[in-house]
Symmetry: C2
Subunit: 308 residues, 2 copies
């Protein structure tokens, strides 16, 4: 799947993943109104609005980007109905040719991580049948529990040709509280990065590993160090746009081959219609505003990489 | 809610939480057969079997223990149907007077953690209404992203009188890979433990904080150190039984007041009927075997605490 991701990045010229993290305040009144008319101001109503919103955006961006990244928390908050909207979104995106990175940040002890890996990437035995649950192409994983929490994901990555992105250095302001603490003079995120490289060696695709890493755009110097520590790991870079990262900050995350990183933007794309730059699209043009924002982001990244 | 937990621990004499982590191989053939007859060998069939299994066990143990801890991974692997079984289990347990610790190990950057906190402990605004989703009493939380990932949970704990247990030192064999790394000569889990105490100070119940910690029974010496670092934090102790922890290892996790810890057992209770000690209950007596295993565990812990 990592090979397919790289192929699609090259075809689209866009090392971009669109974060499908739909807060209700991003969704136009018309869509909300129709959903609430049908299901009331209920979790089912919210889930319907989220699904209609996602579908319209996906229809506009499907040919432009290789991948989307739905953040499951935004769906889980609407309970079972929300989780069903997550599942429908994953399935629809895959049908439209998009790769799906489930931003689930799961991670637990071995037997439990095995269940998470089955839930999101693999299959589960039910009686005589093997069934899949959410069936994303990639998932994000939290490393705090160590190798035996990661190993079940590696196994599924090998068996089903899926991939993971392990949290190494996250984009948020207090990520340094534990991640930057010095261990033998080196920050913890470097130690985690070394483990990512080690785990990844057993899960290679053609040129890159099925085990990637999450490193925030907000920390480009650390990105450069981690790039060197994990040369075969694809880096998923959140924090572009709303969180402050810019195209010119992104160069350190890429390898010399122009590959090795994929940059996420969530509200910068899906809520573009609420921003001054795209106001002319109006509420009805929300999905076309997202399309325009993707094109602008592709150009910003291209310039950022050319100027290095 | 932490005060209610302590009250129920004192009433039952059982500082015990039963882990509702139902793998299909723990479930008697009869229950599986009925569920598969109705829904086929499908995620819906598996979810139905899990729900019927849980309900029978909960009916036997409800008066004996203060709390249960469903592990959401075991439900998520059956997709939306599984998540619905999780929601039904949470609701049913609360109706039976049990407190529910959602073992979800969530944790993300601020705005996303806010959605997880709303999903599992709080409420979410939908149009003019505030709705709850899964509505557990407590949730487990991963600290790797630092304070801004925890803060939204603290806010919900204060507003809704809920609680969290933060992963500090987990019970699995490779937990030390990152958690034990020395930072200025002290293991990372101590640094995390200090943060738990700090976060907890802003969320106090009557005598203990709404912010607790997860520390594995498999590491009693570290439990003693962490007990001293976080005197007001309730410690949720996994790893008893199947993972190797024994009653006599548990004393370090408790305070002098005999409080301060609650011990989890999952398969040791819910799959007791498959163990030699409880074989006489047979397959039909699986829930009564769970009841007997709870009583034996209560006695083992009592003796372990008396001998200190």
């Amino acid at each position: 799947m990592i090979d397919r991701l790289i192929e699609r990045i090259q075809e689209t010229g866009a090392p971009i993943v669109v974060g499908l993290d739909p807060m209700l305040r991003f969704i136009p009144e018309k869509i909300l109104g129709r959903a609430f008319d049908k299901y009331g101001e209920t979790p089912a109503g919210a889930a319907e609005a989220v699904w209609q919103f996602n579908r319209a955006i996906v229809d506009e961006i499907a040919g432009l980007v290789p991948a989307v990244k739905p953040q499951i928390a935004m769906y889980e908050q609407f309970g079972t109905a929300g989780v069903e909207a997550f599942a429908k979104t994953v399935e629809y995106c895959r049908q439209q040719g998009l790769l799906v990175i489930g931003d689930v940040k799961r991670g637990d002890i071995g037997s439990t991580s095995a269940a998470y890996a089955a839930a999101h990437l693999g299959r589960v035995q039910i009686g005589s049948r093997l069934c899949s649950a959410f069936n994303e192409d990639f998932a994000t994983v939290n490393p705090y529990l160590g190798t035996d929490g990661i190993e079940p994901f590696l196994q599924v990555c090998r068996e089903e040709d899926k991939g993971i992105f392990v949290l190494v250095k996250t984009s948020n302001p207090s990520s340094g509280e534990f991640q930057d603490r010095l261990v033998d003079g080196r920050p913890l995120y470097e130690i985690v990065g070394e483990k990512v490289a080690e785990w990844g060696a057993s899960c290679m695709g053609e040129t890159y590993s099925r085990v990637g890493a999450v490193v925030g755009a907000t920390y480009p110097e650390m990105g450069a160090v981690l790039r060197a520590i994990m040369p075969k790991a694809y880096i998923l870079v959140p924090g572009y746009g709303a969180q402050g990262g810019k195209g010119k900050d992104l160069a350190p995350f890429f390898n010399e081959d122009g590959l090795g990183a994929i940059v996420n933007s969530s509200r910068g794309i899906i809520a573009a219609w609420q921003q001054a730059d795209y106001a002319s699209y109006g509420e009805d043009g929300f999905a076309k505003a997202s399309r325009a924002a993707v094109i602008a982001m592709r150009e910003d990244i291209r310039q950022g990489l050319e100027s290095r």
